[in-house]
C-alpha cells in the first residue's frame, strides 16, 4: 500500500524518506513484474461505467482472487476522483486522488488537503512533487505501473503459498455495496490486508494493512469517490503557485554506467522472497551512486540500498519505523546498507543482515 511519503518527515529521517521514495520506484516495478500473465493489459476498462458487480460469485473458491484482479484493473484503468483519509502511527491525513486514463496516457494527481499543500502529479512516467513547505518541485521518472494511491496485492499460484485469501462479509461503505476480502500472511515475515471492494466499480473503498495479530498498521478509507467518464486537463494542474520555487530534476544514470563497487546480494532470504529488480540510482544527498535491489514475495517488497561511500548523515543503525514501513540499517565492508519495506521489522533485519558483496570474478 506504499505511496509517496507526502507528509513532512523529521530531519533525522529525511534520508530514510528519500530511500522510501526511491523504494516506491523499485517496488512498483516489482509489482508490475508480478502481474499474472493472463491479466488484462492496462488500459482495458474492467467494466462499463457504473456497471454491476461483473458477476463475481462470492461462493466460488477463486472468487476472492478474481475480485483482487478486478480491483487492480480498476485502480489502473478507471477514471476516478476521490477523497480519502490515510491513517498510520496515530496520524490521520486527508488526501484527494484524481486518476485518468485517456488515449493510453495515465495522469494522476494526489493532493494533501490538511495544510501542507503538497501535491504529486504524474504524467505518464514523469512524477512532479510540489513541496510548497520547502519551496521546491522535484521531478523524477517513475515506472508506468506505479500508482500514487499505492500498489495493492496481486495473487498467483506462488503467492498463495505464503498468503491465505478469503471472502469476508458484504457490507456498505459511502452508500455503496462492498465485499470484504481478507489476505492473511501464513508466517511472520509479511503483513496481511483487509480490502473492502466496491461491487459496482471494483475500486477499493477501504484498505487496511495488518500485522500478524490483526492490528491495523495503515488504513485508507474513502469519504467520496466518483468514476467519471472524462476528467478535464484542468484537474491535473497544481493549486499552488510555483513562482520562485526551485526545480530539481532527477539525473538519470547513463545507460552504459558500470557499478563502481561490487555487486551486492542477500546470502539468505525469508521464505518466498526472490530478487526482482536491481538498479543503480542517484539519490539526492548520497555521496555517489546507490545500488538498489528489490526482493519480493510477489506482494510484499523489500528494497535494499547499498551506498558506495560512508556518509555521516546516513549513519542510521539498527531498526526504525517510518509510517507503515520498517527499516533496518547496518554497515557491510564499510558500505551503509539499508533495507526498507512494508513488512514486519524481522523481515528487513533478516535481509539487511544477510547482505554480502559478491566476490570479483577472475
Amino acid at each position: 500500500m506504499r505511496r509517496m511519503p507526502i507528509t513532512r518527515s523529521s530531519d533525522r529521517l529525511t534520508w530514510l524518506a528519500l530511500l522510501l521514495a526511491a523504494a516506491a520506484v523499485g517496488t512498483a516495478a516489482a509489482a508490475a513484474e508480478a502481474v499474472p500473465a493472463n491479466a488484462s493489459p492496462s488500459g482495458a476498462m474492467p467494466a462499463p461505467h457504473g456497471a454491476a458487480s461483473g458477476g463475481t460469485d462470492s461462493t466460488k473458491p477463486d472468487a476472492p482472487q478474481k475480485l483482487l484482479d478486478r480491483m487492480n484493473e480498476a485502480l489502473t484503468s478507471l477514471n476516478y476522483d476521490g477523497v480519502f483519509s490515510h491513517a498510520q502511527n496515530g496520524e490521520i491525513e486527508t488526501l484527494r486522488i484524481i486518476h485518468r486514463v485517456a488515449g493510453g496516457k495515465v495522469m494522476e494527481r494526489l493532493v494533501s488537503l490538511d495544510g501542507s499543500g503538497r501535491e504529486f502529479i504524474r504524467t505518464g512516467s514523469e512524477l512532479a512533487c510540489y513541496l510548497p513547505d520547502e519551496r521546491r518541485v522535484l521531478v523524477e521518472q517513475q515506472p508506468q505501473k506505479s500508482l500514487l494511491l499505492g500498489n495493492l496485492p496481486r495473487f498467483d499460484a506462488n503467492t498463495r503459498r505464503f498468503y491465505e485469501i478469503q471472502m469476508g462479509q458484504r457490507t456498505r461503505l459511502i452508500g455503496r455495496r462492498a465485499q470484504l476480502v481478507l489476505v492473511t500472511a501464513r508466517d511472520q515475515y509479511r503483513y496481511g490486508y483487509r480490502l473492502w471492494i466496491d461491487a459496482a466499480t471494483g475500486m477499493p473503498l477501504k484498505t487496511q494493512l495488518c500485522d500478524g495479530r490483526g492490528r491495523v498498521i495503515e488504513q485508507v478509507v474513502f469519504a467520496s469517490l466518483e468514476t467519471p467518464r472524462a476528467i478535464p486537463d484542468s484537474a491535473f494542474k497544481p493549486d499552488i503557485s510555483t513562482a520562485g520555487f526551485e526545480w530539481m530534476r532527477q539525473v538519470p544514470m547513463p545507460g552504459n554506467a558500470r557499478a563502481p563497487f561490487a555487486a551486492w546480494y542477500a546470502l539468505r532470504l525469508p521464505p518466498g522472497f526472490h530478487m526482482s529488480v536491481r538498479t543503480e540510482q542517484v539519490i539526492p544527498g548520497a555521496g555517489g551512486p546507490v545500488e538498489h535491489i528489490v526482493y519480493t514475495d510477489g506482494i510484499a517488497s523489500v528494497s535494499v540500498f547499498v551506498e558506495s561511500h560512508m556518509h555521516p548523515d546516513h549513519a542510521l543503525s539498527g531498526g526504525t519505523q517510518l509510517g507503515s514501513s520498517s527499516a533496518y540499517a547496518t554497515i557491510v565492508d564499510g558500505h551503509p546498507v539499508t533495507a526498507v519495506g512494508e513488512v514486519p521489522p524481522v523481515t528487513v533485519r533478516f535481509i539487511a543482515s544477510s547482505v554480502k558483496a559478491r566476490p570479483p570474478a577472475h
Partner: protein
C-alpha cells in the same frame, strides 16, 4: 436568530461519522448550536456542491471546514457571530 450547524454527510462514511463524534466531544466544553445532518446524496444540487468534499460543516449556511473538524475555526466563527 439562533445559530445552526449543518453537517453534509454520506451514509456509511467513516470520516463523516468521525466529524459528528468530534462535534459531540467539543460540545462537552463549548456551547454549540444544534447540528442538522444532511445526506449529501439526497439531492443532486447538494451532491454537485459538496459531494467530493464530505463531510462539510456549515454554520448558518457558510462553510466552516471540510473533511475534518477544525475546532479552532468553528469557535472563532461562533465568537464572531455572538460579538
Amino acid at each position: 436568530m439562533d445559530a445552526q450547524l449543518t453537517v453534509m454527510h454520506r451514509h456509511e462514511c467513516e470520516l463523516c461519522d468521525d466529524m459528528l463524534a468530534d462535534l459531540e466531544r467539543l460540545r462537552a466544553s463549548v456551547d454549540l448550536p444544534p447540528v442538522e445532518v444532511v445526506d449529501v446524496d439526497s439531492d443532486s444540487e447538494l451532491h454537485r456542491k459538496y459531494g467530493l468534499s464530505v463531510p462539510v460543516l456549515l454554520l448558518d449556511g457558510t462553510v466552516v471546514c471540510r473533511h475534518r473538524l477544525d475546532a479552532a475555526e468553528l469557535i472563532r466563527l461562533l465568537g464572531q457571530r455572538s460579538a
